[in-house]
């Protein structure tokens, strides 16, 4: 039983997301702060009712609401326009299987007749008068009063669900140490619980209670209590000690997993994560989704390598969603499963034109990823163009390199600009192409039909390539000085540059002296 689709509205940075998940592995790729991890949290929340391992009802807070949505709502309210208060909606759509018919219905935002669960965090109507009173002075209000909100967790049949009744289980694996919970590891506890029948659990629980009660009856304990009983000045009542026998000290919470006799929580993060992964796979079999958060964080290279290998193995039998911004992870797991995620825009490679898709299938994932991760990309034709653009950028930005400013200069081989621009368009990434006119502006315009607003080139058909363009913009003396040459003739200098393209570019790049750049290159940098 797989999750086919996730919808999230107004949940933190996710304002309106409707994402289709792959059957096996889905890789969410995107920059920091774009909501990849939030999406994993959302999936885990709607399947388990837990946020950071705690019940969502106890975790309601204004920060859970999309700040843009809330801001617009409050602004409108300030202008005297009343609107329904903001709500959070998360929906998980399941594969349509007769066994899940109980959870089937059309109570979802897409009105699809499939099984699924939905969680809505909305104003509790019982508190409507309090809410109105609170909102009476909109100027005073700067956040959503979540104390008047409640969590409604239903199947698509609109019947209440519980953690146990949700048919698809979820395990979230994050490598942040800050998010582990006190006491025994919750994942392990949950998995152990799922692995045992109700009877086995009851038997264990009984054995545990007997063990504790046996401990309390040890002669040493009796001696201790005799000692306490003699202490009349502590309390008027009889004082004694015993082990905590209440429900909250059950065996589950005292269970500590060991890896090679080392307590699980003391083992390395990489070891922990891959052990969790393995346990999760074995315990839940089919109806289960594993969510892996940025395996590159807080892990050494070799640990990450191990975890990612495990992920690749698991994804063959399990549904698995992994969020990453590491090109290593992406290359390792294969670009065909990627969902390019960028805030509320996202696309899968299948959504690209078929020839673009095929192109990227053949390409190692690295360059694709660089494009996705950049806030702005400048695409160039080769290493010499790259060097010139890098230097031109630094010269125009107080010596700051493009990367420092979130701009990636990507050298694209075999003139596949259009392919990259397809992705940039879909993800609304700002991108510019720096290209030669190759002697025909007309041909160039024809080649980039539909993409022309991204293309920076020079109209002068006499200067076909970068080298004559550089020579046009600079005096012979300047370039001679940079290259350490003494050409007295334009044609000779041009020939030298054309024969030593990369060397010349490197010299310009590393020279103390600034040169003047052709206007089309400066255009690409500015826009």
């Amino acid at each position: 039983m797989r999750i086919t689709r996730v919808v999230a509205k107004n949940f933190k940075v996710l304002r309106d997301v409707n994402l289709t998940l792959n059957k096996g592995l889905t890789i969410l790729v995107g920059d920091n702060e774009t909501g990849k991890s939030t999406l994993l949290e959302a999936i885990h929340l709607v399947l388990t009712g837990l946020l950071y391992g705690r019940l969502i009802a106890n975790e309601l807070a204004p920060y859970l609401f999309n700040s843009q949505t809330v801001g617009e709502y409050l602004t409108k309210l300030g202008e005297g326009q009343f609107q329904p208060p903001p709500y959070i909606l998360i929906e998980a759509y399941f594969e349509d299987h007769p066994d899940l018919a109980k959870h089937r219905g059309i109570n979802n935002s897409l009105k699809l007749d499939v099984p699924g669960v939905s969680m809505k965090i909305e104003l509790n109507e019982d508190y409507l008068p309090n809410f109105r009173e609170y909102m009476a002075d909109p100027l005073r209000v700067d956040a959503i009063p979540t104390e008047y909100y409640s969590v409604r967790w239903f199947s698509f049949a609109h019947n209440p669900v519980t953690q146990r009744s949700v048919p698809v289980k979820s395990t979230i694996i994050d490598t942040y140490s800050t998010r582990t919970f006190s006491g025994a590891d919750r994942y392990i506890a949950g998995i152990v619980e799922a692995a045992l029948s109700a009877k086995e659990q009851a038997d264990l629980s009984l054995a545990y209670r007997e063990l504790r009660s046996g401990f309390s009856k040890q002669p040493q304990m009796e001696a201790l209590n005799k000692h306490f009983a003699a202490q009349k000045d502590i309390s008027d009542k009889k004082l004694s000690v015993s082990l905590d026998m209440s429900a909250r000290s059950g065996w589950e919470s005292n269970l500590m997993p060991f890896l090679d006799s080392i307590p699980f929580t003391n083992a390395g993060k990489g070891e922990q994560s891959s052990a969790k992964l393995r346990l999760a796979v074995q315990s839940y079999a089919d109806a289960h989704i594993v969510l892996v958060e940025e395996p590159e964080n807080h892990l050494s290279y070799s640990n990450m390598h191990r975890l990612v290998s495990k992920v690749a193995e698991v994804a063959a039998t399990q549904q698995l969603v992994i969020a990453t911004h590491s090109s290593f992870v992406l290359n390792k797991l294969g670009v065909e499963n990627v969902i390019l995620f960028c805030g509320n825009n996202h696309l899968t490679l299948e959504q690209l034109p078929p020839d673009t898709y095929n192109y990227f299938m053949k390409l190692p994932g690295h360059d694709t990823l660089r494009l996705i991760l950049a806030t702005k990309a400048i695409l160039v034709e080769g290493p010499s163009d790259e060097l010139i653009v890098q230097r031109a950028f630094a010269d125009s930005n107080d010596g700051k390199s493009p990367l420092e400013m979130g701009v990636d200069v990507i050298s694209v081989k075999s003139l596949s600009f259009k392919r990259f621009l397809d992705i940039a368009k879909a993800l609304k990434i700002s991108a510019r192409v720096v290209t030669d006119n190759d002697g025909s502006v007309e041909k160039l315009k024809k080649r980039y039909e539909g993409y022309i607003e991204y293309i920076c080139y020079d109209e002068d058909e006499c200067c076909k390539t970068l080298e004559p363009q550089l020579l046009k913009a600079n005096s012979r003396q300047t370039l001679n000085a940079v290259f350490g040459t003494i050409f007295t003739d334009h044609a000779d200098l041009l020939e030298f540059m054309s024969l030593n393209k990369t060397d010349c570019a490197l010299k310009i790049f590393s020279s103390q002296q600034r040169i003047t750049y052709p206007a089309y290159i400066l255009d690409a940098i500015k826009k």
């Binding site: 007769p98 018919a101 109980k102 089937r104 219905g105 059309i106 109570n107 009105k111 007749d113 239903f154 698509f156 049949a157 609109h158 019947n159």
Partner: protein, 369 residues
């Protein structure tokens, strides 16, 4: 071809519910729903499951009628018909809801306080959802259940019966179980199908049978009551088949008795019968009585009834027509396995009712002297 659906009509104490639970619990390859109207009978079904199987097996879901309507027939496809808000619950009425609201005004006709549905219109609403769902409604139920049992089917009324009709026409196997003589409750007071209200529901069952929609099995055996008790209960329905008792146990105090007022407390102390009455208008002294209606589905070795007007008139005249709506009386009479006593003194023209007197061999307790 015989129909897949069946209706099992049996007398009080025939062991219908137990047989149903055993059958459903054993059919573990099927997904089964068991529906019943009253909470009492729901509890009884659950109790029998625990007794017979240790718990409710995972292939069985037990619902009260309204829970089934709400969870499986209304909510899943509710947006097909009314999408303004989720129907949170049923608004229970003893009579009828607004009947001047036009059906075209869905909200006014069906909905109360924006999120509750009037109990008398719940089944009608469910049928509208089914109608408008393009077959998705029945597909869902079909995927969920292979077999639906409806216990105490005689309690259903109004559009409930149309809903049953809809289910019987699907691929789901439908088995209706009940005793038309015990039609003491009605799920609702809708004017729909009012000609089948109460014991007349049997006519609808026979029509369904004629239309080839189901077959009807009538069983006139009681495993609970002895023959004398059966005969008295049968006398309430002179036009229906006689019941044969399968309870042949003799205890030494068996059959029908009239207990004079002065001997009542001794009788109660000696035999500890369950004390029943028609309703709270009948005074029962210091005893803790149960109303006839609430005793449905229960079994007692001995029963003592504090009679109301109609029973007294029946006893004094021997004319059964003095009891005009016999369903609750039938329920009360068929609770007893061995002895059924009435705290009544005076003339009695009903046959086989013996005058209770203190057994000679037992010392009279002081209280009665």
């Amino acid at each position: 071809m015989p129909s897949k659906n069946s209706i099992r009509l049996a007398a009080g104490g025939a062991g219908k519910t137990t047989a149903m639970v055993r059958e459903a619990g054993a059919a573990s390859q099927n997904a089964i729903a068991i529906l019943t109207y009253t909470n009492n009978n729901y509890d009884e079904i659950v109790r029998i499951f625990y007794r017979e199987f240790g718990s409710i097996p995972s292939h069985v879901s037990v619902y009260t009628w309204y829970t089934f309507l709400l969870r499986e027939c209304i909510r899943p496809y509710q947006p097909c018909f009314y999408d303004a808000s989720r129907i949170e619950s049923i608004f229970f009425l003893t009579g009828r809801s607004l009947n001047w609201a036009s059906k075209a005004n869905v909200e006014r006709y069906y909905i109360c306080h924006g999120r509750y549905i009037y109990s008398d219109k719940a089944a009608e609403f469910a049928l509208e959802c089914a109608q408008r769902s393009d077959g998705r409604w029945i597909r869902r139920l079909n995927d969920m259940f292979d077999h639906i049992y409806v216990d105490e089917v005689q309690d259903l009324a109004g559009y409930d019966l149309d809903l049953i009709d809809r289910l019987m026409r699907s691929n789901i196997l439908v088995t209706l179980i009940g005793d038309v003589r015990q039609a003491t409750y009605s799920t609702n007071q809708s004017p729909r199908n009012s000609q089948y209200r109460g014991p007349a529901i049997r006519n609808l069952f026979l029509q369904w049978k004629q239309a080839g929609q189901c077959h009807v099995d009538e069983c006139a055996e009681s495993h609970r009551c002895n023959q004398t008790v059966c005969d008295l209960a049968d006398s309430l329905y002179p036009d229906m088949p006689r019941t044969t008792s399968k309870n042949l146990t003799v205890t030494g105090h068996d059959g029908l008795f009239m207990v004079p007022r002065l001997l009542v407390s001794d009788y109660v102390r000696l035999y500890t019968p369950a004390v029943l009455r028609y309703d709270l208008k009948t005074k029962c002294g210091e005893y803790v009585p149960m109303n006839f209606g609430d005793s449905k589905g229960k079994t007692f070795d001995r029963v003592l009834i504090f009679p109301n007007g109609p029973i007294k008139s029946y006893f004094s005249s021997g004319d059964i027509r003095k009891i005009t709506s016999p369903a609750k009386y039938y329920v009360a009479f068929t609770r007893a396995r061995f002895s059924l006593a009435f705290a009544y003194e005076g003339a009695c023209k009903v046959p086989y009712v013996s005058q209770y007197s203190w057994p000679a061999e037992k010392p009279r307790p002081e209280a009665a002297s």
